[in-house]
Symmetry: C2
DNA sequence: TTGATCATGATAATCGTTATCATTTTCGGG
DNA sequence: CCCGAAAATGATAACGATTATCATGATCAA
């Protein structure tokens, strides 16, 4: 039952802060969970709009921010000026590799890199709290097509 | 004589594209080279303005973009919505570690990480063309001040 | 039921950046 | 030098993503 646990978490998160679960927040959470992609608020707004014409885009922005704080979503910044969100609950940390031609992207992890990042930070006197790593390249398919 | 070689490079870069070295471009390049910092266009604009009240900010934006293409500057995106530029000529690639409290930042490199990134990309069928890695943490000074 | 609180959607505002365009500067022949 | 094409500039408008504002509507607990 996808979404059951997540909805519970969200409801609790909201309650803890004196906020309410609403119809709109439910719709947005559902649509978000149903879509296994890195979604921009605009994209999600477009999806939901097809079901409910009355929803406002401000609410989508607001709710995605809330989902992030609740630990259900995670912000992803590919560096193209648009913020995207990915599932966070039950999805381990990972980094991304993005094709510069077709923008196809994959999720990758390398434990050795993670470990070395930790050490690197320590070496410079920092307590590491997080990191962003984006690899840019040309994917196999695009290389086949031309050079 | 800081700036001599860089100016030559810029002049040649411009000439190759049928563009001209101008007074403004010279001023901007000088101020950029004189400042050893990650500079936003606004900051640079502020600096130059103190010397020449007549300069336009559009010219600063335009020129920084040109300097990037000429290989003299490099864009840096700390993820706070402002694009910054750093020296590129004679400055090897490096990554950054940023304090989330005071925004102090350091330049760091780990050859083992660079190597592993290369392999990771290959493993997923990508030819790596570049990467962005930003480590976020709390610096020593900030940890001393409070927790 | 009823007021207090919270959420919503439309819209204005913000902010960094880019586009537009009239004006100025530059440059290479005459 | 002087000219006209080409390029550059600066003021300003426009842009796109996001956030703030605010009047209206929904929800809650007593
Ligand atoms: Mn992802
Ligand atoms: Mn740097
Ligand atoms: Zn591709
Ligand atoms: Zn600090």
């Amino acid at each position: 039952m996808t979404g059951k646990t997540e909805k519970d978490i969200f409801v609790r998160f909201l309650a803890d802060r004196g906020m309410r679960m609403t119809n709109q927040r439910g719709l947005i959470l559902d649509a978000f969970l149903r879509t296994e992609k890195h979604l921009s608020p605009e994209e999600l707004y477009g999806l939901i709009r097809r079901k409910d014409r009355s929803i406002g885009q401000a609410t989508v922005y607001r709710t995605l921010k809330l989902l992030s704080e609740a630990g259900l979503a995670r912000e992803v910044d590919f560096g193209d000026g648009v913020l995207r969100y990915e599932h966070s609950y039950g999805h381990e940390h990972h980094d991304h590799i993005i094709c510069e031609r077709c923008h196809r992207n994959m999720e990758v992890v390398d434990e050795r890199i993670e470990e070395l990042q930790e050490r690197l930070a320590k070496k410079y006197g920092f307590r590491l709290t997080g990191h962003k790593m984006y690899l840019y390249g040309i994917c196999r398919e695009c290389r086949k097509k031309q050079g």
